[in-house]
Subunit: 240 residues, 4 copies
């Protein structure tokens, strides 16, 4: 797999048949396949997944649901979903005409290394811009919205004056290299719930899909605010 966009040369793995519709068709609006479609529309309207960019995955027990590559996010339907068994990494369902998301190994990293319940990847312009201004990490402190972000290494959320630190990894031509550096960042920053990718975007995960969504929203708010602070020459880490 070579990118989060549709890779033309990529062979669709056909371990699961497209007839496994019961895995994704449900009247329950909280079914992962339905939630992915709903959230993709929200993210599209925020400008985070423009032009088929970005991705989202939800885990339910040992099954992970993944939005496909190359489909317009605001037009996603449950029938488009890939379903994978987390342990074996075999596809339980593969839509015949679609290609799996190149984000899949990155989502798997969050599931396996952090026991995440969902993982969101956006091409948010605020995320891209912040990676052009910061070097190894993005840092911000003493903004109330920081309280929405979890400490991860212990229970509870960051305090108002705590410093939020999000590592920035370098983008790569080849997806495999991005997986390696994402895993390294997750190890080096045990307290982070997100990783920025330079000139690319951001990965955010959480214990549940709703927590992942809230973390992503709060982080994007902080990235936007940081850019406005930078424009006025105000440091994002408050000096005392």
């Amino acid at each position: 797999m070579s990118s989060c966009f549709c890779s033309k040369s990529q062979e669709t793995e056909k371990r699961g048949a497209v007839s496994e519709d019961q895995l994704v068709i449900s009247d329950d609006s909280t079914h992962p396949a339905n939630l992915i479609c709903e959230l993709c529309k929200v993210f599209y309207n925020n400008g985070w997944v423009t032009g088929t960019g970005g991705g989202i995955s939800i885990r339910e027990g040992s099954k992970i649901y993944i939005a496909p590559s190359g489909v317009q996010k605001e037009r996603m339907v449950p029938d488009n979903m890939f379903v994978m068994d987390l342990e074996s990494e075999n596809y339980l369902r593969t839509p015949l005409t679609l290609k799996p998301s190149a984000c899949t190994p990155l989502f798997l990293s969050a599931y396996k290394m952090r026991d995440a319940g969902a993982c969101i990847h956006t091409h948010s312009q605020a995320a891209v811009m912040v990676t052009l201004l910061y070097d190894k990490v993005f840092e911000i402190s003493s903004i109330e919205q920081i309280k929405a972000i979890p400490k991860v290494t212990e229970k509870g959320n960051l305090m108002y004056s705590d410093r939020l630190v999000i590592p920035i990894i370098e983008n790569t031509e080849r997806e495999e290299d991005l997986t390696d550096s994402l895993q390294q960042a997750i190890e080096e920053y045990p307290g982070t719930t997100a990783v920025l990718v330079r000139r690319h975007g951001i990965y955010v995960w959480g214990e549940t899909v709703w927590k992942a969504k809230v973390y992503n929203e709060a982080i994007d708010y902080l990235l936007e605010l940081a850019l406005k602070m930078h424009q006025l020459g105000i440091p994002t880490v408050k000096q005392n």
Copy 2:
């Protein structure tokens, strides 16, 4: 209570039973529980209550309705509402699985000190940014939109060339300290219908929910405009 976000360690006070559904379930779209849900969606779409931030409360006679902590604002339903008796400060209704908003003592200040009918709290980025540029108060004059803001100490609204002054209080780690300084600001600025909180957001109240909404909207417009004026080096208080 430690923040407007969900405080994990906080004990939910169970003075009222969740069976008191008749307090919040109504076909009337103007019922406070319905209005709170409707307005939360509007505020979410404005980017004012991102990531479960912010809050809103409406008073109807001696009953106050308060949106809970930690619930995504755009997904709020009437069943999520807390109801409190204003005088005794006892909860008349407490949703079992939710925590009361940490904004509650701040909302109570507006109700008790100003006889407000509703109080809105947002994490508007314009509000946060303005508190990074102004010291003790935000001031603006000679903008038509100022006419939407009430004089408070006497009948009627501000005139075009009047100076709108909104006090800025310092944010605190602990909610109790914020309540004290909010009350002090309300006393020191008898003509204000809003208080800015540094690096946090804004509290706005009004005689009715619609007035509070209009004041909040008009103030946010003025805060945004002030930031644009600042960028161009134009003072927000017109010099004659």
Copy 3:
């Protein structure tokens, strides 16, 4: 009348009875009372009529329909509309609990001096900001969108390289003085279909409600673009 916002001291003129409902209640979505409500929602979502600011009026033959003062634009209903006879300036319909828009004499100027079919007034932030950067007139040339603006003094629209000139009048505490200067601007600039009001907003009119809407939209686009050009030091009137 003292402002486009609700003037508390102002006596509602009760020349028409509120029972004249047939003037505003219609199943036809193109009825002026319905169109005003629909367009107010559009303008609200554009941030042009925040906090009850701004106004709109449509003329049908000798009857003019006017949105009331002090009502939230996105919650307007046909029953809120005032109806006036253009020639006598008598109200044909006066909603009992509402106050007529203070914009009324300004709308009348566009109807009487220019035979307009509709007049739109917004508090667009782009309009306000432009009046802080330009002196007597706003000018822009050589932008394709200019072709959406009419020549007024002759048939057809401006050409690409034509110069769009919109006069700027000073805002006033008292509405009457604004009416005078608006009329003067209309006389001095026979080719204009809009007048900017310093630190206040803009008035735009057209032969029909749709033309007024398109002109207002195109002008606001040009005002926004002019602000971006200013930020980059690019003159809005192209130098050859």
Copy 4:
């Protein structure tokens, strides 16, 4: 034809009768006439086709569907559509009261020179602004979103570190001259799927309507990002 806006002096060519309704009336939401209306609403909400500006056309086999001139994009209905035979350039359907889009010869260029399936023209402010900052071409490299853009001259999309180059042509008073320079740009830049028009906007095409939409979205994202990078003094082509 003199502009993308309604040209008053232009004779409507009545080669086809308006009774040819079967060409545009369909229950199928993917019918070109329905898709044009749907996408015009999306583009309007993005601010790309404000004030009747811009245009869109879809080809189905030898028939091309074209949105008319002078109609508000968000209020377009299938009955407004022109239908033309690509080879003969004869109109198969001409709505009686409407004028054909002045973009028609430009759309035809994309169909004939590139075998496009759809062509989108917007007055995006990001497009206009970029043409004020760049000379002969707009260039950007090493941004992940570039991967959404096709190579055109060979299969597949651009790589992350590839340089996206979009030619900029000069705007003209007369439409004919724009057609000539657009065709010249298409010839000179065989790898481009878009052409910017100075002080005017952008033309984007693709093999299908969905590809054209995705390309246009991804390019606009890159144009916006380029403007933000310029503001911070960061070159859009990454230097190694």
